[in-house]
């Protein structure tokens, strides 16, 4: 999310493409957060801790495979 706009909207960047989306369902999201967007609405804020936890598990799987 790049910046909040008036009327419950925010400008979001999708890897170089920008669009305004509604943040009615993610009122807690702030500039700098990552959000999941569907048909012009942000549905969820990416939880960085959870994201890292999942990546951690992936890392462990890779390590297990490499040492097998």
């Amino acid at each position: 999310m790049l910046e909040r706009l008036p009327d419950g909207l925010a400008k979001v960047d999708f890897g170089g493409v920008r669009r305004s989306v509604s943040v009615a369902f993610t009122p807690e999201a702030e500039a700098g957060d990552w959000v999941l967007v569907h048909v012009g609405f942000a549905l969820a804020r990416l939880d960085e801790d959870e994201a890292l936890a999942t990546l951690q598990l992936l890392g462990e799987a890779i390590d297990a495979e490499l040492s097998a």
């Binding site: 569907h38 012009g40 804020r45 936890a53 992936l58 799987a61």
Partner: protein, 371 residues
């Protein structure tokens, strides 16, 4: 893009695929169903089904909300679109879906109907504001992922006191469809990969009945290859350990309680229909939304007359079996011949997320190789 590339890494995929092989008994047969068009698409696009051990079979359930719209409802949409005063707005995927006489919205457009593709229902609202002398109708299609967006659009239409905007509501719910599949006498599904984006809205609680009443494990998964394979691993662990629980692999965006604002919007604007017909599966109780009475004036079904006919699928169509995981696309006698993505006979071929369409695009040459 950040938070996408890391989940796609070939190395991680290979590692989990290797782990899966250690989780199955040779010679056993495990049938896992996924019920999300996005998952179907991702699995085929990345060839993930080829990475699974032979013992694990992936079947594709009714995860494509475009595909399950009955032909009669498409005809209703076309009837509305053909009215000269109407600007009919829709997500792009719906345009090619054929109705009862093999006519589609795309054909109606070619014959002069004002049909426009929009990315968001809010865009349809803008069109209504910019064209006060026309009637703008939005074709509401999608699971609980999309329904909140439409709910909010209706609330905004009410705020703006728009008189020329209505929604033709065909939103469906995932959990009742899963129950219908589990109730089906010949179902042999051992576990479910839970839909990713629907779950950001509804959370993981609606799937608990699958574990508690039907004793099957459910793992809600993300869409990257590593997410899906990780979910399969978690399901296999549960099966090995004799557990049946709802787990959340997609914790980075799915909260167990879902999204309260989105759920509130759904509650306010929609009412659950007593039953709704799913193409290929027949009527399923409490599986569809209609617009609540308080917003009845924004309901296209109240503003426009539609034929409302029930139209049967062609006899050769085996979509019902494919949707329940009882048949593979290539086992249908008309797959790839009378029924192709260009001229789909049944729901599974209709959108690129339908099981048959995905298989046609991504898998059919492998079938040739195996045969």
């Amino acid at each position: 893009m950040k938070y996408v590339d890391e989940y796609r890494s070939a190395q991680a995929v290979g590692a989990i695929a290797a782990e899966l092989r250690t989780l199955v008994e040779p010679g056993s047969h495990v049938k896992l169903m996924e019920v999300c068009g996005g998952h179907t698409h991702a699995i085929y696009r990345h060839g993930l089904d080829t990475l699974l051990p032979d013992e694990v079979e992936l079947v594709h359930g009714p995860g494509c909300p475009v595909c399950v719209i009955p032909m009669g409802r498409i005809d209703d949409a076309i009837t509305i679109a053909e009215r000269p005063e109407v600007i009919f707005t829709s997500f792009g995927d719906m345009l090619r879906v054929p109705g009862g006489r093999r006519r589609s919205l795309l054909e109606a457009k070619a014959r002069g109907a004002d049909v426009r593709i929009v990315y968001s229902p809010l865009d349809a609202l803008s069109i209504a504001r910019d064209n006060p002398e026309r009637e703008v109708v939005f074709f509401g299609v999608g699971f609980e992922t999309t329904a909140p967006a439409v709910a909010l659009t209706l609330l905004r239409a009410r705020e703006l006191d728009l008189r020329n905007f209505t929604v033709f509501c065909n939103h469906v719910l995932v959990a009742p469809a899963l129950r219908a599949i589990l109730d089906s006498p010949d179902t042999e599904i051992d576990g479910f990969i839970g839909p990713g984006h629907v779950s950001t809205v509804i959370g993981t609680r609606p799937y608990e009945f699958i574990a508690s009443e039907y004793h099957r494990p459910v793992v809600v998964a993300g869409f990257e290859p590593t997410d899906i394979l990780q979910a399969v691993a978690l399901l296999l662990h549960q099966l090995r350990e004799g557990r049946a629980e709802v787990e959340n692999q997609y914790g980075r965006v799915v909260r167990d309680d879902g999204n309260p604002e989105a759920l509130a919007a759904l509650e306010r604007v929609f009412t659950v229909r007593d039953d709704f017909e799913w193409r290929g599966l027949g009527p399923i109780p409490h599986s569809g939304y209609r617009i609540a009475d308080a917003f009845a004036d924004l309901d296209a079904e109240n503003r426009f007359e539609v034929p409302g006919a029930r139209i049967e699928d062609p006899k050769a169509c085996r979509c019902g079996d494919v949707l329940r995981g009882m048949a593979k696309p290539f086992e249908c006698s008309v797959f790839g011949t009378a029924c192709t993505p260009e001229k789909p006979l049944g729901t599974c071929m209709v959108s690129s997320e339908g099981a048959c369409a995905a298989y046609y695009a991504y898998g059919r040459h492998r079938q040739k190789v195996i045969a």
